[in-house]
């Protein structure tokens, strides 16, 4: 009953992360980061704690903690609207470790898709919406060299960046690899391709968004208990109560879907066929929740929550941005629907129960 596999959660890692984020990911820091100020103290504290290497095995220079620890840290990061590329560094570290590469120092990020190795052995191609590219030291990506698919790390300083931000105000830059020379390069392991990056990226965002929706819920509960109208806290009105109950349900559902997918990935550490289905489920469920949840949180907060001064937007805007990254719910629902059609009517139910019957 409730048995977990070898990957049990290390509460020390989560406690460390939660405390560190609470201390250093303040509203002021988040707002300053959106205005372009790099939160150096926050990042240094993360590096000092080793949280950025959670998914990197010891032989690749990492902390060698479990996959589930990393996902728990990502929920906490989302719950704190962490304005540094911890999620991206974890994701890049995971990809490098999958290929057996040692993980370089500093903040990292990841580019989606498949890029190219040109005749001079340099990386070419353009990657859109690379999160936190400007703040990263290296970008990890897949690049094709003829028949070979390589995992490469490219120094950001050698790329041409076009700066932009997502609707949460997070850096979201277009990267032209521009013939940069990779500092690290090796063959991608069998089964790892651009879809694997999308899947793992999607799951990272689901976990962050689960945290963000959790905080939006807490803020709504708190505000509804404090704000008085018609002589009583607005949380005493049934209309408000029922909206908040719905928000609690959506937040809980995303959490549950995120956990199910994280556990499926933790079995092998890679995105196998079973894990892919759980990830698709989780990203679709996030899409549903992120359209309902933030709307409720804003409605409860009234005009106050619509101001930049109030911190609600740190969480609602991130949920809105993250639901679209690495494939939105339409993209993933079609993929999942395709898989379901492949199962066929007779295998639909057996495939649903297979998750718990291993």
């Amino acid at each position: 009953m409730s048995e977990t596999d070898s990957h049990t959660l290390d509460t020390v890692i989560l406690d460390t992360a939660t405390r560190l984020f609470a201390d250093l990911s303040t509203s002021e820091t988040i707002n300053a980061a959106e205005k372009g100020e790099w939160p150096g103290a926050l990042w240094q504290a993360i590096e000092a704690s080793g949280l950025h290497l959670t998914w990197v095995p010891e032989e690749c220079g990492g902390a060698g903690a479990g996959m589930l620890d990393g996902f728990a840290v990502l929920k906490a990061a989302g719950a704190a609207a962490l304005p540094v590329p911890l999620a991206e560094t974890l994701l890049a570290g995971w990809l490098l470790a999958q290929a057996g590469l040692e993980v370089p120092e500093g903040p990292l990020t990841i580019a989606r898709g498949e890029h190219r190795i040109d005749n001079n052995g340099a990386v070419t191609g353009v990657a859109l919406a690379v999160p936190h590219a400007r703040s990263a030291r290296q970008i990890v990506a897949l690049a094709r060299d003829g028949a070979r698919l390589l995992v490469v790390a490219v120094p950001v300083s050698a790329c041409a960046l076009t700066l932009d931000r997502n609707l949460a105000g997070e850096p979201w830059d277009t990267v032209d690899f521009n013939g940069a020379v990779a500092t690290l390069s090796t063959a991608a392991p069998v089964g790892l391709d651009a879809d694997s990056i999308d899947a793992m990226g999607a799951l990272v965002r689901v976990n962050q968004a689960a945290g963000a929706l959790g905080t939006a819920l807490e803020l709504a509960i708190q505000y509804a208990g404090e704000r008085e109208q018609f002589g009583r806290p607005i949380g005493k009105f049934q209309a408000i109560q029922h909206m908040i109950a719905d928000l609690a349900g959506e937040a809980a559902a995303v959490n549950a879907a995120a956990d199910a997918a994280a556990e499926a990935v933790a079995v092998t550490g890679a995105v196998d066929a079973d894990a892919w289905v759980e990830i698709a489920t989780a990203k679709v469920r996030l899409g549903q929740a992120a359209s309902v949840g933030p709307a409720i949180a804003h409605q409860v907060h009234g005009a106050m929550g619509f101001t930049y001064e109030h911190r609600l937007h740190h969480f609602t805007r991130r949920a809105w941005a993250w639901r679209d990254e690495f494939g939105n719910e339409t993209v993933w629902a079609r993929r999942l629907g395709d898989a379901v059609l492949g199962w066929g009517a007779d295998q639909l139910w057996p495939r649903i129960t297979a998750v718990t019957d291993k």
């Binding site: 049934q238 809980a252 079609r334 999942l336 629907g337 395709d338 379901v340 057996p350």
Partner: protein, 388 residues
């Protein structure tokens, strides 16, 4: 900032439950092939077959968690979960025994006299005796403490007068008992939850009249049950006199946490897949993806509640949250299927799928009412969140 208010732990089925699942699937496939049942939408509240229930009783799939002493099988909650979810996914006619197996039997096991347990439970586990719920009344719905059915003390027991309503299956063959919430002391406006008791009423006793009520689909699944000077012996009291409120709250918790809250019409999706697979467009893929994502997540949460129960917790709010979300999904499932199915199905007059869809559409308003309306459930959720 706490990252998660509600926890739904991972559950892994033990080997015995996995083996049982195969056994149940083989049984269901054979029954369907031999005409032992035809799949139904909302099968746990519409598919009455005393014969099918007896077959399950013979196989040891009723009263699974109860002690052997009372005809039970001392199996785990997860094994029972497996049997119930397999029955629902197949649209099997499980209505006859559903209430007895889900709540009345367990409620009797916890609170009834030895005499009642010895007499009723073995027959319930064998699928020979069924039960109905006795909570709502014509003037009592969500406000359950306002029940007016009266039990007046007489020599050796009580004399009961009043009426219960929406008691699913009370008219059915073999439906012998109703656990009824009654007033054993007059209502006190300040202490509304006092003076209530749960009595097991023998539906075959003199003075009991069961009148069927047609639902919007023209079917008679539920009833009004009239009590006129019905004698109920002392041995039919559950727990202590006057403690009925806490008992009924416990019974409702049994009622709210199961997979029937999101799988009532899963069979319609399963059958629709046969049609949708023929010519799937992007919209169809998208709808299937959305529906399966919802079902998988709800199953995770529903099983998480089973996990919490196994840990010895009382996940009443979690159950309310899942039931609220799951029952709204049941409506959405049918609505989303409708818009991707071809006219040949929607307007079709023969075949399993057109019938299932109509049954499901006509049954679905009850999903968000029975076992506590979604509005009452949301009230429970916000109480836990500290807003009430």
């Amino acid at each position: 900032m706490s990252s998660s208010r509600f926890r739904f732990p991972r559950v892994t089925m033990p080997a015995a439950a996995r083996a049982l699942r195969q056994e149940v699937r083989e049984f269901l496939a054979a029954e369907r092939a031999s005409g032992g049942y035809v799949p139904m939408a909302d099968c746990w509240a519409s598919g009455f077959s005393a014969e099918f229930s007896r077959k399950l009783g013979q196989r040891g799939w009723l009263g699974m968690t109860w002690p052997r002493q009372y005809g039970g099988h001392e199996r785990s909650f997860l094994e029972r979960y497996v049997v119930t979810e397999e029955m629902l996914a197949a649209g099997a006619p499980v209505m006859a025994h559903w209430i007895a197996d889900r709540q009345s039997g367990t409620q009797m096991l916890r609170h009834a006299s030895d005499e009642v347990k010895n007499r009723a439970l073995p027959r319930m586990a064998a699928g020979q005796t069924f039960c109905a719920i006795g909570m709502s009344e014509p003037n009592t719905g969500s406000d359950l403490a306002s029940v007016r059915t009266r039990a007046d003390k007489v020599a050796g027991g009580w004399k009961v007068n009043g009426r219960k309503i929406w008691s699913t299956g009370a008219h059915g063959e073999g439906c012998d008992y109703m656990i009824s919430l009654v007033r054993t002391a007059p209502a006190d406006e300040k202490e509304r939850h006092q003076g209530l008791s749960q009595l097991i009423i023998d539906l075959k006793a003199p003075g009991v009249t069961v009148r069927g009520i047609e639902d919007i689909g023209g079917q008679v699944h539920f009833n009004e049950t009239l009590f006129e000077d019905v004698f109920v012996p002392e041995s039919h009291l559950l727990g202590k006199e006057g403690h009925g409120w806490s008992l009924v709250v416990g019974e409702l918790a049994l009622e709210r946490s199961g997979p029937e809250r999101f799988l009532s019409s899963f069979i319609a999706l399963r059958e629709a897949m046969q049609v949708l697979a023929a010519n799937p467009d992007d919209r169809t893929r998208e709808v299937l993806g959305h529906l399966v994502a919802r079902i998988k997540t709800l199953r995770r949460m529903s099983l998480g509640i089973a996990g919490l129960l196994q840990e010895g917790k009382s996940p009443e709010t979690e159950a309310a949250l899942v039931k609220d979300m799951a029952t709204r999904f049941e409506r959405e499932l049918i609505e989303q299927l409708r818009v991707v199915l071809p006219e040949s199905v929607l307007l079709g007059s023969s075949g399993v799928l057109p019938r299932l869809l109509r049954e499901a559409i006509l049954r679905v308003p009850s999903s968000t009412l029975r076992g506590g309306t979604n509005e009452v459930l949301k009230g429970m959720i916000v109480r836990q969140l500290g807003l009430r």
